[in-house]
Symmetry: C3
Subunit: 138 residues, 3 copies
């Protein structure tokens, strides 16, 4: 069985990190599937998905890591060609990755206690985002 | 239903980035599966998979990011032991990741408009590559 | 068909890299599923999963890459708030990723010859870990 849903959210961009765990759990609860995978995918090339312990310290630490390793204020060919100033956003998103797959069993996601599912929006402006949530199993 | 296919391609190595989106879409079109996931996997330890806006500026920016953060010209134990000079290729590939999962619905991949599926070949020579494309769903 | 299993292991932490390929192959062999995906997921926010050529040189090179790009000895807000000293572990794990999906066909994983499945434990102490191994297919 396959159920394909979407989660809509508003992000502030600039590395904004948004916890979507409750929404994903709710979509899973609404299906008749007890065992399988939740595949999350972000449609777009300036945001990514991962898991993190969602607490303010780490949110700050994770943002700083991106700024240290893939800075905003160095020259990007993308910016020269398109003038939208979000070259760093694209490069960060391609490194983090657009997909995340989480198994569940007896209707429970196999996340750790301190592990949340997050969207990281690297774009340089506020964005409306849609996350694909596809639940597959039996 | 599960269909397992392969995409063969020639890469130039050295961070070559190859758009495989049309090939993946074609493989999906040839199946009788309308809803599910495409799992892409690269067999090999010096290349990876991700999504990116496939335009020349970003291709250059993405390559430079790898050279800044995981340079080719620093010492690698792998090179000392094996002499093949591709230690940086392995380390980059392990960070980027070998798998990518993209949901589709009504036969359409959920990619964004400016989001392509790419193989990044980090090896230090031209390579023939095979990408596994597995389509699962109903 | 969906089979959900766990692999238990002891890690030394501090970037310890553990090859779980034989265990994954064994779990696959024990099922009646011949074609599909193995989804691996690590429950926890200070470890990740990837593939690598599992040889001592690269294990050393991969560890050094993490120390260069996401050092242990810089200030982390997480450490200031919680005092457990593993801010770098969390940030590294979120970048590497908690999930990995590997297609198989005729009971054989599509891994390359020199490509092993590894758990990377970034925590700053020894840990008992459980890896979810979910096999889905027909």
């Amino acid at each position: 069985m396959v159920v394909t849903e979407k989660i809509s959210l508003e992000s502030k961009g600039h590395g904004d990190i948004i916890d979507v765990t409750p929404e994903v759990q709710q979509r899973l609860a609404e299906t008749d599937i007890s065992d399988g995978t939740v595949t999350l995918f972000i449609s777009g090339s300036t945001a990514g998905l991962t898991t993190i312990e969602f607490e303010p310290g780490l949110i700050s630490d994770f943002k700083k890591m991106w700024e240290r390793n893939i800075p905003q204020d160095i020259p990007y060919e993308h910016n020269r060609a398109w003038g939208d100033g979000n070259g760093h956003s694209h490069v960060r998103a391609s490194l983090l990755g657009a997909s995340l797959v989480i198994p569940f069993s007896d209707k429970r996601l196999t996340l750790g206690t301190w592990q949340q599912i997050v969207v990281v929006d690297f774009d340089n402006r506020a964005r409306s985002r849609q996350i694909v949530v596809q639940i597959m199993g039996e």
